[in-house]
């Protein structure tokens, strides 16, 4: 396990696609036990920012410092649709080099996916696929959670369970960044930022 405290620092990150400057100068930090929300309109560059922090995309300039293992949950379920839930877990268990499935097993119960474990993902509902998407991001108990629209497609019960998991992670001194185009409950976040015109600014009303 990591002994150094988890943290995330993003400094002066910029990224363009052709002539379109999606991120101009993004700077923020998140400390251990902090839950940061990043809101913004569709196409504001939220997903690009999270992909850069996760390591999928290089920034044009700027610096990312991450302390701790990352758990990245992409916006759309990036899973094998032609395999069962169990087989997807096996792929990612090998990727994370985990000796056991204990945490994944606990999350299967918690998010009520256990009875689907032998079902092909392509046959699952959108909400259940999203649950699997989240489990695959968290099954190695990461210290830095990067979640892109993590509760889209969830029913109310699952939405509440998601926040239970997020709150537990916060109490366990993890760093959590959630991006969403819709932020329903502002009080759940320690810090709420808005991505607008390529820069981050404090969310109005906080």
């Amino acid at each position: 396990m990591e002994s150094a405290p988890a943290s995330l620092s993003v400094s002066n990150v910029a990224r363009s696609f052709g002539r379109r400057h999606v991120l101009r100068d993004v700077t923020f930090t998140a400390r251990r036990g902090e839950l940061v929300g990043i809101a913004g309109e569709n196409g504001a560059g939220k997903t690009t920012l999270l992909r850069i922090i996760a390591g999928l995309l290089p920034p044009d300039r700027g610096r990312i410092d991450v302390r701790g293992r990352i758990g990245y949950c992409p916006q759309d379920p990036q899973v094998h649709f032609g395999l069962t839930v169990d087989q997807n877990l096996e792929w990612f268990r090998a990727a994370y080099r985990l000796e056991h499935h204990m945490r994944a097993e606990a999350m299967l119960d918690r998010l009520a996916v256990r009875h689907h474990r032998r079902t092909l993902v392509g046959e699952l509902s959108g909400g259940t696929r999203q649950k699997l998407n989240l489990i695959l991001a968290l099954m190695h108990d990461p210290e830095v959670l990067l979640l892109d629209e993590p509760y889209q497609g969830f029913d109310w019960e699952t939405y509440l369970r998601f926040w239970d998991i997020a709150d537990e992670s916060r109490r366990a001194c993890k760093v959590i960044v959630i991006i969403s185009h819709l932020v329903f409950e502002r009080t759940r976040f320690d810090t709420l930022l808005r991505l607008h015109d390529g820069v981050l600014e404090p969310e109005a009303g906080r």
Binding site: G55, H80, L83, A95
Partner: protein, 252 residues
Amino acid sequence: MIRQIWIALRLTLTEQAHNRFAMLLLAVYLPAWYGVIYGLTDNASIGFQLRAFHVFVATSQHRLGLLTGMLNATTLIMGFVALSAVRRSALVDQRLVLCGYSRSALILGRLLAFAGASAVLSLYAVAVLAAFTPPQHPGVVVAGTFGAVLTYAAIGVLVGVIARGDLEGFFVIIMLSLVDTFIQSPIGNPAANRAVVEYFPSYLPMQIVVGGAIADHVAWWQFWGSLAWAVMLGILGVLGFWLRTRIARAHA
């Protein structure tokens, strides 16, 4: 590393087995296609040139039509399976690499799975063919079919990483397989004996398959030559696959 290769190989094969459309093609399309060809051709004699031996062998249109049809159907099915697998796993492959999966193990496992699927498909296609026209040397026919099928697995991977959309990819595979196998057969192409056919991927497999099915002529260098096509295209496919799964920074 070995464990990751094994998991990639096993789960890629499992996913292919779950591809219901591909299974339907195997179970229904292949035998139905053989039946259609058998019905459309007759027992009239036709000559086929085995260019490595500079001889013409005489056979029936039934047999030659079935052999051509087998190469056409198997290359089409494998091209589709590889293309479909590569496109469906595009984003999740990158996610796996980001989460720590060895890129080399992932690619090697997937390639081995395609090779395994190609071998199974070749065996199956020749076994079904035997119900219509038993080949004289089934092992040789399987080997020739394997060369063609493996080449189209590589084409499927290559097209899968460069095509912009699924439809474009499928169109390329269908047209390639159709043109490539069609021009090898003197039934459909009176100019099949011209040297230009040698530059197509199905040329060597067709020579092996016909030599093994209706004669006793086998030039094994042709088998290795057919694999060379697969390796050449496979290297390009792997290069595309490698670029597609690149990430900016791996997780610690």
